[in-house]
């Protein structure tokens, strides 16, 4: 169980980071969402994995740790607010620059700056 859970977090992190490193805003937003899934699951796991231990008093014998749950609950909502904010940033970039490159430049420049530098060297 733990191994599967760890692999899930690893995959979410890897996919998220790969997308965050892309050059266009939309994949970056998707990547951030994946990353925040991974982070939320990780934080949740600090309370360890419990089966049938919902922290409702009187519903069970052994309770799962409620504290990480409370923290992650607000993290999910804040994560949504952050995603919304970044999406809107991307839209504003699209509106102002008529382009969706993360560097926020006008449409004319299409090649990557970093790439250009590398080839220039």
């Amino acid at each position: 169980m733990e191994l599967a859970y760890a692999l899930i977090i690893g995959t979410l992190t890897a996919s998220g980071i790969y997308l965050v490193l892309r050059a266009r805003t939309f994949p970056v937003v998707v990547g951030l969402t994946l990353l925040s899934y991974g982070v939320n699951l990780f934080l949740f796991a600090t309370g360890r994995l419990a089966t049938g231990g919902q922290p409702i008093i009187g519903s069970t014998e052994q309770y799962a740790d409620p504290l990480p749950q409370a923290l992650v609950l607000t993290a999910i909502v804040i994560g949504f607010a952050m995603t919304a904010f970044v999406v809107v940033l991307a839209l504003r970039n699209q509106a102002d620059n008529e382009d969706d490159h993360v560097d926020g430049r006008k449409r004319e420049i299409h090649t990557d700056i970093e790439e250009k530098e590398e080839s220039g060297r």
């Binding site: 892309r22 939309f26 998707v30």
Partner: protein, 933 residues
């Protein structure tokens, strides 16, 4: 006695003084004098104790963890400097009253002057070295502001910047030096440092500490090669030059050498560094002073030279020389401050400071001329004036240095040559200005005597010069003795203050200097011609050049690191995190803790497999954005299931509803954006990114695995035990959110609200035209709001609202609560927007979501503040039970009001964000109205 008050008073005065600016210059001058007068009155009763070597201490704890305390110390040395600062400060205040023009910003000037006075008193009275450094830097800053007081002049701004750069840089070196001393001693308190003198001198870090401290002292006291800032600081108003740049601030470095004299002096390194620097400064200053045509330029270089003389005396490593140095500090302050004031008067009355034009002023202002001539004679070292006495002591000390062989002749030779130059430039000051024919082309003609009171400060200082010169033992003896006692740690040598010590070698040197100087001045034209052959180095231009070069280099380095590419920043950020984490993770290896692995069941395994595959799929298929989005929604749903699987029903419900809103949000965004991501990056870069991503993923897997298999200890048992009795609810997660950690939640919904308002602000007045189709050649569907969706969505609304109410009410005891209920309501409303369009929905829900957010925050805050009214801390919750008909016994908690606030904020924020995006398209309003019909 409260020493801290002495330091604090001028700062308080600096705040109060500008209030009198409206009432005129006299009023503000009187107001500005008050702090110094009070301070003097406070110091006066303690004179006898201090004269006998007594010490007053005062200490308050400030930052004990790093060894900084607000501790002050008053002994003979600090008294000497404090008196100079206070008394000359008073005279400057009076002088500046007449120097400044009525239309100038006198409030600012006096405020800065008082700030400077406070900082300077802080330096001399601090007993903690770090505290002293704080005041030290403060004087640099205020000096910067005072030099650039006439900030409309470019020269003033440049001079100020140069002074700040040099003295500020020296301050940094001093900080490093003090830190080393503190490290050696283990304390920054002056008492401890003075007691550890032998320890410091024997320590291997002593050379570094000494060099760094001396760098601080030399930059502040304008020693070669840092002397160049002082002449350029003469762009300041003359009262500032007289106060800061002759009497006080430039003496701060000297003070530091005196203060740390028992600790740092006495070694060969001290001897060579200090005496050599002093000697070079003495000569260079004296030489250049002769050739300056600017009155203040001459005085500035003469100041440099005299500061070099004092430094040289300290460097000689003998106690008598140290006494002579302290004596010269007093004498130089009196004659130089009065000379600066006289120069200011001449500038004021003639409109120029160029000695080639100012001639023969004796006829116009005999009173000022007399005063200036006496002061200048003291500067030259004419007998019966104070300058003569300390210079005589200096000559005597230069003879008594036991240097090997021919080197023994060097100090007396240097001293005599410098003396000759000093007499020559003093003679020039007297003869060129007051005699030597008629004035040439003065901007103000004829010059007149200045206002009566403007001369009083000069008169007082000149009187002091004469008094000390004629009756040294009575007038200055006790104070000098007290200062020497403190400087030398009680080990004061036998010395004798008298006008004449008989006919000896020092007297001969004085004669040589006097007549040599007069001869040199009479032959000045030859020297001027000689000097004119060398090209003058413009220090300001050199400094600007160096500064520009540094700026360019810094900009170039910054540009290399910061090329404006977010992609690169993100890569560097992630890559450095990976690099930092790499070695601990590698050491950890694949670690299975003592709890071991638990068996997995088939449904969970399948769920995990799907989650992994869809997560990978999202990344792999990201170019087709729509597919990526679909994949992402599957990932989100499975995350919700994961929460449900591992005993977190609240999280599952939250994740589920957030998932819906997130996907709607991203779909909306995709409507305005290209639906396809082009291939732009080369494969090596993609490979690099993939490597970073996979490494990070592997690292997270290892960390998670290690964490999950470790036993742990949680603080949660408290929450579980107290949830029902303390918070009145059985859903521990919800009770934590609205009760135990309610303050966190309040902060979090505030962040939510700010994010939503930020979104609204960013999109206000922004128009985005969506592309006509999906980018792959398919046009959008014509039917924006399909009939079936509309028909299903409308009856859903009341149902969904009821569910949301139910979830909200039960939240305290069963999974649910404000967050989840808010999200469900938001989803229900968003569905109406999607199905029927913004126009249609807004017609029917006439609500401004800003207000909903505001109301939510208000409720949450009131619920928290309510407990304050009953004398409990913020956000203490109260609860009770009421019995409703039909429903039965029902719990009512004040936390419920808080949760209502959470609910409203979540609804408002979510809808404000989504509706703002929905309204982006210029056609959306019209189109949706049409669709709604």
């Amino acid at each position: 006695m409260t020493l801290s008050l002495v330091v604090l008073l001028p700062f308080l005065g600096a705040i109060a003084a500008p209030l009198f600016a409206q009432a005129g210059r006299t009023a503000i001058a009187i107001a500005s004098s008050v702090p110094a007068l009070i301070a003097l009155a406070m110091l006066f009763p303690h004179w006898t104790t201090l004269a006998e070597g007594g010490v007053f201490q005062e200490s308050h704890s400030w930052l004990p963890a790093i060894g900084i305390s607000l501790s002050f110390r008053l002994d003979g040395l600090s008294l000497l400097f404090a008196l100079l600062i206070l008394v000359i400060g008073l005279l400057i205040i009076l002088y500046a009253r007449y120097y400044l023009k009525p239309y100038e910003n006198v409030g600012k000037f006096y405020a800065l002057l008082l700030c400077f006075k406070g900082a300077m008193l802080g330096i001399v009275l601090s007993s903690n070295l770090l505290l002293m450094l704080v005041f030290w830097e403060l004087t640099s800053l205020v000096s910067f502001l005072l030099i650039s007081f006439w900030n409309q002049k470019q020269d003033a701004r440049r001079g100020a910047r140069m002074a700040l750069a040099v003295t500020g840089g020296g301050g940094l070196a001093l900080l490093a030096g003090i830190l080393i001393i503190g490290r050696i001693v283990g304390s920054y308190e002056l008492d401890d440092v003075l007691a550890a003198a032998d320890l410091i001198k024997a320590h291997e870090l002593y050379p570094f500490a000494l060099t760094l401290v001396l760098l601080g002292a030399f930059t502040k006291s304008a020693q070669f090669p840092f002397h160049f800032w002082l002449p350029h600081a003469m762009q300041a108003p003359t009262p500032v030059s007289a106060y800061l740049h002759s009497a006080t601030m430039v003496k701060a470095g000297i003070f530091l050498m005196a203060r740390l004299y028992p600790v740092l002096a006495g070694t060969d390194q001290w001897f060579f560094m200090v005496s050599f620097t002093g000697m070079v400064t003495l000569l260079i200053g004296a030489y250049v002073a002769l050739f300056k045509h600017d009155l203040k330029g001459l005085l500035a270089h003469s100041t440099v030279s005299h500061l070099g003389l004092i430094t040289l005396l300290f460097g000689m490593n003998t106690q008598l020389a140290a006494v002579a140095a302290l004596f010269h500090v007093i004498n130089h302050a009196t004659f130089k401050a009065s000379l600066f004031m006289a120069a200011g008067i001449i500038d004021h009355e003639t409109g120029t400071r160029d000695m080639r034009r100012i001639n023969g002023l004796w006829r116009f202002m005999p009173h000022t001329a007399t005063l200036a001539m006496v002061a200048a004679s003291s500067m030259a070292g004419v007998p019966l004036l104070n300058g003569f006495l300390s210079k005589e002591m200096f000559f005597a000390e230069s003879l008594s240095l036991n240097l090997p062989g021919i080197w023994a002749y060097l100090p007396p030779l240097v001293a005599t040559v410098a003396g000759i130059f000093a007499v020559a430039y003093s003679a020039r000051f007297i003869h060129d200005v007051f005699f030597n024919g008629k004035p040439v082309d003065l901007p103000i003609y004829p010059p007149q005597e200045p206002p009566r009171y403007m001369k009083i400060p000069v008169e007082i200082l000149v009187f002091a010069c004469v008094m000390v010169g004629m009756f040294p033992a009575i007038s200055i003896g006790p104070l000098l003795h007290a200062a020497a006692f403190a400087t030398l740690n009680g080990d004061v040598p036998e010395y004798h203050l008298a006008i004449l010590h008989g006919f000896n070698l020092p007297l001969l040197m004085s004669f040589l200097a006097f007549f040599g100087g007069l001869l040199m001045y009479s032959q000045r034209q030859r020297f001027f011609d000689f000097h004119a052959r060398f090209k003058e180095i413009d220090e300001k231009a050199v400094f600007e050049k160096v500064a520009m070069w540094l700026e360019d280099r810094a900009a170039a380095i910054t540009a290399r690191l910061e090329n404006g590419s977010l992609q690169r920043y993100a890569m560097l950020l992630v890559a450095s995190a990976v690099v930092v984490a790499l070695s601990p993770i590698e050491r950890l290896g694949i670690f299975i803790g003592s709890n071991g692995l638990s068996p997995i069941d088939w449904p969970t395994l399948i769920g995990a497999a799907v989650l992994v595959l869809t997560a990978l799929g999202t990344a792999a298929l990201h170019r087709d954005r729509f597919y990526a989005l679909v994949m992402l929604s599957v990932v989100g749903l499975l995350v919700a299931l994961t929460f449900a699987r591992f005993s977190a029903p609240d999280l599952a419900m939250t994740q589920l509803s957030v998932e819906v809103v997130t996907i709607v949000l991203l779909m909306l965004a995709l409507y305005y954006m290209p639906s396809w991501t082009p291939i732009e990056t080369s494969w090596p870069r993609r490979l690099r990114d993939l490597t970073i991503a996979l490494t990070a993923g592997a690292g997270m897997t290892i960390i998670t695995l290690a964490m999950l298999t470790q036993p742990f200890d949680s603080i949660s048992s408290y929450f579980i035990a107290n949830s029902k009795p303390g918070g009145g609810g059985t859903n521990v997660v919800n009770v934590i959110l609205v009760d135990f950690r309610g303050f966190d939640t309040l902060g979090e919904i505030t962040v939510l609200a700010i994010a939503a308002l930020g979104i609204y602000a960013m999109l206000k007045n922004t128009a985005l035209t969506p592309p006509p189709g999906d980018g792959l050649g398919h046009p959008w569907t014509r039917d924006a709001h399909p009939l079936m969706l509309k028909q299903i969505a409308r009856p859903m609304l009341p149902l969904a609202l009821m569910v949301s109410l139910y979830i909200f009410l039960r939240g305290h005891n069963l999974p649910g609560g404000g967050f989840i209920a808010g999200l469900i309501t938001a989803v229900a409303l968003v569905l109406q927007y999607i199905a029927s369009g913004i126009g249609w929905t807004e017609d029917r829900i006439p609500m401004r979501y800003h207000n909903v957010i505001g109301l939510g925050l208000l409720f949450a805050t009131i619920a928290g503040a309510g407990s304050l009214a009953f004398g409990y801390p913020f956000l203490t919750s109260a609860f009770g039970y009421i019995t409703w008909p039909v429903v039965g016994k029902f719990e009512v908690a004040s936390a419920m009001v808080f949760d209502l606030g959470v609910y409203l904020t979540v609804v408002g924020a979510t809808l404000l964000a989504l509706v703002s995006i929905g309204k982006l398209s210029p056609h959306s309003a019209i189109k949706s109205t049409k669709g709604g019909m």
